[in-house]
Point group: C2
Chain length 343, copies 2
DNA sequence: GTGAAAGCGCTAACAG
DNA sequence: CTGTTAGCGCTTTCAC
């Protein structure tokens, strides 16, 4: 089999504890012995078995990252940030895609636990996520951070983005351009991403003494197709809006397709806004007005939180909140409002 | 601490070996004892410690997936497929983003080895990747599959896509439309993705007795920005092409931006083709003519290969090759060829 | 059928 | 400074 600490010890003519000491820089070892041991380590190409270490130390140097879907660009970026930052701290991360399926999430959680991971980052938990609560109840000490969402009544570390603020900014921007009727294309009904954004939109609309008709708030999945579908429904309705606020860029791009399919021009006939500022947002025609989150910083902060909790349990929980930034591009403009729609 | 097999054994009044037997369905256990043990397991909420199991069995039920960058949509899709299929087989996967940096890859490989993972899938290895070779040389038995690329002189299982065929099809399609001068926007010079595609392009061009001028073959990174930059260079040159063949959709979309920025219309003034058929390809205006690979199947097959090798080492290596499919959309058309370019 | 005991490869007291 | 030893939690002979 592979070479163990025993092989090294024997060949170097020392005890395994000595080898362990030089390998971990722990305790005193004479320079001479250290040299000799290191020599043998090189020679034998010894690699430490982390499994044994983990079993002993009860630390796997691994964290779990639970996200809805890596295929979504936002989560891809986030995952990248978490991985890189995790590695920087000597941790590796196990990715889990739940597709927002709570059973899938539950089985991932118990899987991660069996694997003795040291902590979990839950990205964008649904607001009624039962697994986070169950886990916290069972083991309040276990390092958990909620990223981009918070489950009611669960006290963990948190990293949040004030999405409602972003939605507010976008809406206000549209109002200032002269828009008075809006369509809102959201994702899952019980995702925080949907709720937060709707909140911000409502605040801005109320402030302006306008109103948002209920039928113009549409839910669906987070795929481009869903944006297309929702927008179509919106644009063919009686009180069709002059602006659509989508919960994500991908949804917004779906709306572009809908507009094009029925011959509406953006932004003259219809203004559209997104959320996330994915790479493609600047490539579409016209470029998409959207809101950008410090995704990398989100990941970095979340990792810092778990890792610090893992290394030194603390009695309190903390929360960091980031503000998103609006990016105005070509997809929003003054409404012209004189178009007709082919039913 | 957490509950162990000893706790269960004690409470059930049996030996740990008995508990192990009922847990793993191995050896004879009386129905009565089994019931009792299972009862205690439920009661104590016992979860097996996979670390100890792994140390004992020398199997972690984990595979490593090495990719350039999860942020690239192609790899996001691939990763998703690999994860799902891995889980289906009871394996979990550790993601490693190398950014095509061989040193980073090397450190990941040794990291994975220390973690005692059971096998590795190398996605899109560069053709001179030194780590794969080193690993194979050191341990020829270790389960490895190369996906979407092959390092010269290294004998492992492989899952490939005949990208040269896709490039050939695309080029031929352009030739049939009447194009005679081409620009080629590639990624890294020593990536297989670049080489394969260029091969296919050359074959088609030679077949038609046309020729591809060397200055019209541009390399860069795989980001959208690089596509923009390369296309700009191409379009401002003396012998500007009427068609650009990009190595990926993202690069192609970068070319769209270049065309727009200097007022060329697609496909009248310039035809553009991509590669991969990412979701956005149908959303851009005009929709992108590209080539689609069975990404999910690629991932599935790769997992099948590692897993089967892990579970039952085999003496031979195998290779599965998939054919890509061309998807013709609006970005390619007959060249009009009467445009002028503002320098 | 079930129990006792020997490790898997490593760390961490505890002696010397 | 270095060696001995006792586990970490589990699987797996080998006896009974």
């Amino acid at each position: 089999m592979s070479v163990t600490i025993y092989d090294v010890a024997k060949k170097a003519g020392v005890a395994i504890s000595t080898v362990s000491r030089v390998l971990n820089n722990t305790g005193y070892v004479s320079e001479k012995t250290r040299k000799r041991v290191m020599g043998v380590v090189e020679e034998l190409n010894y690699e430490k078995n982390m499994l044994a270490v983990a079993l002993m130390k009860k630390q796997t140097k691994t964290i779990g990252l639970i996200i809805p879907d890596i295929t979504n660009h936002f989560y891809a970026d986030l995952t990248r940030a978490v991985e890189d930052e995790g590695n920087r701290h000597g941790f590796n991360v196990i990715l889990c895609n739940t597709d927002n399926d709570m059973e899938k999430e539950a089985s991932y959680v118990s899987f991660l636990l069996q694997k003795n991971i040291d902590g979990i980052i839950f990205a964008s938990p649904k607001k009624d996520d039962p697994n986070i609560k169950a886990l916290c109840d069972k083991n309040p000490q276990f390092p958990i951070v909620q990223l981009g969402g918070e489950v009611e009544g669960v006290n963990t570390d948190k990293v949040l983005v004030e999405n409602s603020q972003g939605a507010y900014d976008l809406t206000k921007h549209l109002i200032e351009l002269g828009h008075e009727s809006f369509g809102v294309v959201l994702g899952h009904r019980n995702s925080l991403a949907s709720k937060d954004r709707l909140d911000g939109i409502n605040i801005a609309i109320n402030e302006a003494n306008l109103r948002l008709v209920k039928q113009n708030i549409l839910y669906g999945d987070f795929k481009m197709q869903d944006g297309l579908k929702s927008a179509l429904q919106l644009l063919k309705s009686k009180n069709r809006p002059t602006a659509i606020i989508a919960a994500t860029d991908l949804l917004a791009i779906g709306c572009y397709q809908a507009a094009k399919s029925i011959g509406l021009s953006i932004p003259d006939d219809l203004s559209i806004t997104g959320f996330d500022d994915i790479e493609i947002a600047q490539a579409v025609e016209p470029a998409l007005t959207t809101v950008t989150s410090p995704i990398e910083q989100l990941g970095v902060r979340a990792v810092e939180m778990v890792v610090s909790t893992i290394e030194k349990p603390k009695a309190y929980k903390e929360k960091t909140v980031y503000q998103p930034t609006m990016v105005i591009r070509g997809s929003t403009g003054t409404p012209v409002n004189n178009y007709t729609v082919s039913s």
